[in-house]
């Protein structure tokens, strides 16, 4: 595993209509980190994630993934290095069976047939599903939580060194969300989680990066920023629900004393 998984220096990105989506982004993510990327709608989270996988290339600034600079000629290696889990699993599960979808990435990597079954079985087991029960199912007929798991299995089957999640808890019911949190906690892999579910960030990530209007406005300990409701409001965010309940307030007051 590479020591510095992701290194971004002074990244800028403008949409075709000249709207600046990312302004001078610089950050480093180390191997084994689990980092929350927080921001309101339109703050640039998804645009930043798409840069990590080479779907968007830097207009100015540099990105280094492992030891590969983000350039067209390294895209194949970079996409094997960084797995991207999209917000809506229906965008990601495009094959007609679960098996075909999970094996899609490994087949593109050129994994031979004899290793394919093991690779996919490990991936689907890691997300708590059984290959025999799911292999022939149509992804369209799965529940939201199952779809999410299959989408993640499809990425895990590629054995990336980093997984970037775009709004992973969106569209999940409370139980699926809880299972999903356990799943992420169990994955021994570098994770970057773009979300506005601050409770999820608080539970999973010790480090948080806050994006606001395309700029990094905070990069530090998750717990430190979650107390600062004024700062969060300033950037169109709210403290986690677990902090806004009365017993939590008392806890915060006590801690502050």
């Amino acid at each position: 595993m590479h020591h510095n998984s992701i290194s971004i220096q002074n990244l800028n990105y403008n949409y075709p209509d000249k709207t600046q989506a990312l302004k001078g982004i610089s950050l480093d993510i180390h191997a084994g980190d689990r980092v929350a990327l927080i921001g309101a709608n339109g703050s640039g989270k998804s645009t930043l994630l798409q840069h990590l996988n080479g779907i968007l290339l830097p207009q100015t600034g540099t990105i280094t993934i492992g030891h590969y600079p983000m350039e067209s000629k390294y895209l194949r290696e970079i996409r094997n290095f960084v797995g991207l889990v999209f917000q809506n699993p229906d965008d990601q599960l495009f094959m007609s069976t679960v098996w075909e979808d999970i094996s899609f990435g490994p087949l593109n990597q050129g994994i031979p047939q004899e290793n394919l079954i093991d690779r996919c079985e490990q991936a689907i087991n890691a997300v708590g599903l059984d290959l025999k029960d799911y292999a022939h199912r149509n992804p369209g007929n799965l529940s939201g939580g199952e779809k999410k798991r299959v989408a993640i299995a499809g990425i895990l089957a590629m054995q990336p060194q980093i997984i970037a999640f775009d709004e992973p808890s969106a569209q999940l019911d409370p139980r699926s969300r809880r299972q999903f949190i356990h799943l992420l906690q169990s994955l021994p892999i570098t994770q970057l989680i773009a979300t506005h579910d601050l409770d999820l960030a608080l539970e999973l990530c010790s480090r948080t990066i806050i994006l606001s209007q395309g700029e990094i406005v905070y990069d530090g300990q998750t717990e430190d920023v979650m107390y600062d409701s004024g700062f969060l409001h300033q950037h169109s965010l709210e403290p986690p629900l677990s902090y806004s309940r009365p017993y939590c307030d008392r806890k915060i007051d006590k801690d502050l004393d």
Partner: protein
């Protein structure tokens, strides 16, 4: 594509995959596709008014329907829906110019030639539709797509077919959701207005489809897709497949020869 592997998991749990067929279990899907294609070509290439040929082909198809034990009601439902679309496109043939006026009303006239061609086209359509539906009812769509790639159908075409299959339900669901939202705001006010709103919905669905297509492509690219899926294992032909293939060609020729003799 994991062709060999897909056969090791035979628990078709989805309703989409619940197609069973006794006569077809022994013949490879690729052979079934090729045989169907041969018969479709034979039916379509038959000159107009060769009724005996179509009668023989029709009898063959009825035997095949019996052997395959497909759900006839399901076949009828599909056939009925497809017939509506197809009939509209061939209706013009009935009113074409030709010899011998059979019926006339103002400028509208049906000639004997028109009637003959129309009848022939209907025969061709009916038989080919039943055959194609029999094929899709007896082979699960994922297996059908795999078989097409084994038969070296262009990968892009298969990718498009696969996406259509995968996303058809999703599109219908999105349309139903939009329609429900419109009904909740009194869409049913008037028939004309209703048509206009549904037209708008289809337009907005088209734009959404474009957006979704873009996102799906991004997710494919992010998993290393470079324009084509790796090709599955090559074709294996058993004696049953050879027999089915030979019999289909023989049957197609018998049908053609019968008319002339």
């Amino acid at each position: 594509m994991p062709h060999s592997h897909s056969h090791s998991f035979h628990s078709h749990t989805d309703h989409h995959d619940n197609h069973h067929s006794h006569s077809h279990n022994t013949i490879a899907p690729t052979t079934r596709i090729v045989c169907t294609l041969i018969m479709v070509v034979a039916i379509v290439a038959t000159p107009d008014a060769h009724w005996l040929t179509w009668l023989i082909y029709g009898c063959g198809i009825i035997v095949l329907l019996g052997m395959s034990q497909v759900d006839l009601f399901k076949l009828y439902q599909r056939f009925a829906v497809e017939s509506i679309f197809v009939s509209v496109s061939v209706l013009g043939i009935l009113f074409r110019d030709g010899e011998g006026i059979f019926w006339q009303w103002g400028f509208l006239k049906i000639t004997l030639t028109g009637l003959l061609v129309f009848g022939s086209v209907l025969c061709k359509l009916g038989l080919t539709l039943v055959l194609m539906n029999l094929l899709t009812l007896t082979i699960p769509i994922p297996v059908l797509l795999q078989s097409l790639s084994i038969l070296r159908v262009p990968p892009l075409l298969i990718a498009i077919l696969g996406s259509m299959y995968r996303y058809l339900d999703l599109l219908v669901e999105e349309f139903t959701t939009m329609r429900r939202a419109a009904i909740a705001r009194n869409l049913l006010a008037g028939k004309r207005w209703q048509r206009l709103v549904i037209g708008n919905m289809i337009g907005s669905l088209f734009i959404r489809t474009y957006d979704r297509g873009n996102r799906i492509h991004q997710s494919m690219v992010s998993r290393g897709y470079q324009g084509a899926l790796p090709l599955p294992k090559s074709l294996k032909i058993s004696w049953r497949d050879r027999l089915a293939f030979g019999f289909t060609i023989l049957f197609a020729i018998v049908g053609q020869v019968a008319f002339y003799s």
